[in-house]
């Protein structure tokens, strides 16, 4: 009985999830009347705006990942090592971006960093890009922090640190050569999640008026018929590729699984 119910729930879930996907994919292939074709994709990929915004978002994602890793790894490490009592507090702080809407965040940013503020980041394109990266990092913080913290849980942070210290290593060496390599899988899964988030983000990029992939999706969606479906499939493919990569790195690092 339980089995049948479970299967029924699974089927219903897949229907809700898969049916729109199938429909969308089918639609994206039907640009040419009567036959399936990749015309919509061809049209999308040939659009210079697509290439521009896509590249912009990829670069932003990479910067966000580097920034996020450099922010989160030392923080989570230090909290685990020296301030274990503060963990619940930090964990709560990293969850805040899930509760605070992106639009609130970005308005806060604009108020704080506008051209007449003490740090006029929005005054230049580079400044705005940096601001947007901060925003992205904030949005992905809950995922990045959780991933890294889970990774840190699988190693004996305290003893490994002391072993490295007794061998003469300083903090940078310990982080770069001992801690980071041992939580690489966790960091990478955080990185892929960040990548997926940045590629699909709309609100911040739109309000800061940056040429990102999210706003482009919206513009195309409002003005064309078949191309948006193709774009959605592409965006979806990116997300799934990220998830697949997380699985792949987990498999490909034997010493991390067997080290405990």
């Amino acid at each position: 009985m339980m089995r049948i119910l479970a299967w029924a729930a699974f089927l219903l879930g897949s229907l809700i999830f898969v049916a729109p996907l199938l429909g969308m994919t089918e639609f994206s292939l039907s640009m040419r009347r009567g036959v399936y074709s990749l015309d919509a994709y061809r049209s999308v990929l040939a659009d210079p705006q697509f290439q521009e915004t896509f590249l912009y978002s990829v670069v932003m994602a990479l910067f966000t990942i580097v920034f996020g890793v450099m922010l989160v790894v030392p923080t989570a490490y230090w909290v685990r090592l020296r301030m274990p009592g503060l963990r619940p507090v930090v964990e709560f702080l990293t969850l805040l971006p899930l509760v605070i809407p992106a639009i609130v965040l970005v308005f806060g940013y604009i108020r704080l960093y506008n051209t007449s503020s003490f740090l006029p980041l929005t005054g230049s394109a580079t400044g705005t890009n940096i601001l947007l990266m901060f925003g992205y990092a904030t949005l992905s913080l809950p995922y990045m922090y959780r991933a890294v913290d889970t990774g840190l849980r699988t190693i004996d942070v305290g003893t490994l640190t002391e072993a490295a210290q007794s061998l003469g290593a300083g903090w940078v060496t310990i982080l770069a050569r001992v801690i980071l390599p041992n939580i690489l899988v966790a960091v990478l899964s955080g990185a892929f999640l960040t990548f997926a988030i940045v590629m699909g983000e709309f609100t911040m990029a739109a309000l800061l008026n940056r040429p990102a992939f999210g706003p482009y999706l919206q513009i195309v969606g409002a003005n064309k018929a078949y191309e948006p479906a193709a774009l959605a499939v592409i965006a979806f493919g990116i997300t799934w590729a990220c998830m697949g990569l997380i699985q792949l790195v987990t498999r490909l690092s034997p010493h991390m699984r067997a080290s405990r």
């Binding site: 002391e162 072993a163 007794s166 003469g168 390599p181």
Partner: protein
């Protein structure tokens, strides 16, 4: 000559709890010293303070007359081996062993040579390219030892390095660690709660209890002349008798109504209660020349261990454990049989009240 390592009046409190109290110890170059004591007595804390992982509340630590109290762990150049091995899981055995030298920026060739030398020293010359998870516990701990020794530290600290291993490996690795320590002549502090380990490996033993060093001495001294009741009970097994002082100047006491003549005068008042202790091997079943004190008793328990037979005899108002060697022509006495035990006054350890 001043000592190689000098720990003077070490104090450590966690909050209001004094975990280490007035701990003073001087160790010579090349010496192997064990910290022995029950769980929670502060052994690890002392070791971690020496390594620099724990700040001290008071006192000072000097190595070769240099005050290292304020140095960071990474500046002390002290090798450390942990109970949990603590090998870096992402590095191969060779990279683990070479880690210290790499951090110091030693040239590649030198690192490789030293790693090969160290792997040969621990008897694992062919395992350099393995990862830690591909090694047994004993092998991992040997690699950890090699890793600690590779940068030529001034001292080696080991915190219960053998506790996680099974009995056989523990004994063989014990001997191996001692042999390597002798070969390199490296000053070593070894923490253990296993008295057999401490007795068999050490030049000297520090017996700790409640954060205090109760006795510092060679295994022979600590075992045969325990300074306190705690040391007597903790190190080795012991038979204790309650005695009453009859004539302190003459060293005469009474145990369960039988008068005993001890080897020397006693520092106690007439009529005072006194603890006397005897190692199992000092007690003999039956009378024997040279063992002038004889007590009547009854066999309570017989345990056959092969070469040794351990007996429990009720005598002198106490349960006395004693060992006899197995002899094929003499079966052990039956339980309940009347017997006599004898021992020499020279072997009696006076414990005080």
């Amino acid at each position: 000559m001043t000592a190689y390592l000098e720990i003077s009046r070490l104090e450590k409190s966690f909050g209001t709890v004094r975990v280490v109290r007035d701990f003073t110890l001087a160790i010579d170059r090349g010496e192997f010293v064990s910290l022995l004591g029950p769980s929670g007595c502060g052994k690890t804390t002392v070791l971690r303070i020496i390594a620099g992982f724990e700040a001290l509340t008071g006192g000072a630590i000097r190595i070769e007359a240099q005050d290292v109290t304020r140095l960071r762990p990474s500046q002390r150049n002290i090798g450390m081996v942990f109970q949990s091995y603590a090998l870096f899981p992402n590095l191969t055995v060779a990279q683990n062993v070479g880690f210290g030298l790499r951090v110091k920026g030693a040239p590649r060739g030198e690192i490789d040579a030293r790693v090969a030398e160290m792997l040969a020293l621990i008897g694992l010359p062919d395992l350099g390219s393995r990862y830690p998870y591909q090694l047994s516990g004993g092998q991992q701990q040997r690699v950890a030892l090699a890793r600690a020794l590779a940068p030529r530290p001034r001292m080696l600290l080991l915190d219960e390095p053998l506790s996680a291993l099974d009995a056989k490996v523990r004994v063989s690795l014990r001997n191996e660690i001692r042999a390597i320590q002798r070969e390199l002549g490296i000053t070593t502090i070894f923490v253990t709660h296993d008295q057999e380990e401490a007795l068999s490996m050490s030049d000297r033993i520090v017996v700790m209890n409640g954060g205090i060093a109760e006795q510092v001495g060679t295994p022979f001294e600590v075992y045969n002349r325990p300074a306190t009741r705690f040391v007597a009970n903790f190190v080795g097994s012991l038979n204790t008798f309650e005695a009453r002082v009859e004539d302190p100047a003459a060293g005469r006491v009474a145990v369960a109504g039988t008068a005993l003549q001890l080897a020397g005068p006693l520092d106690a008042a007439r009529g005072a209660a006194l603890g006397l202790a005897l190692r199992p091997e000092a007690v003999h079943l039956g009378r024997q020349p040279g063992r002038e004190i004889v007590l009547p008793g009854r066999i309570e328990e017989v345990a056959f261990h092969g070469s040794v037979i351990r007996l429990r005899v009720a005598a002198g108002g106490a349960q006395v454990a004693l060992d006899t060697f197995n002899r094929p022509d003499t079966p052990p006495p039956p339980i309940g049989a009347s017997t006599e035990i004898s021992f020499s006054a020279r072997d009696v350890i006076v414990l005080g009240a």
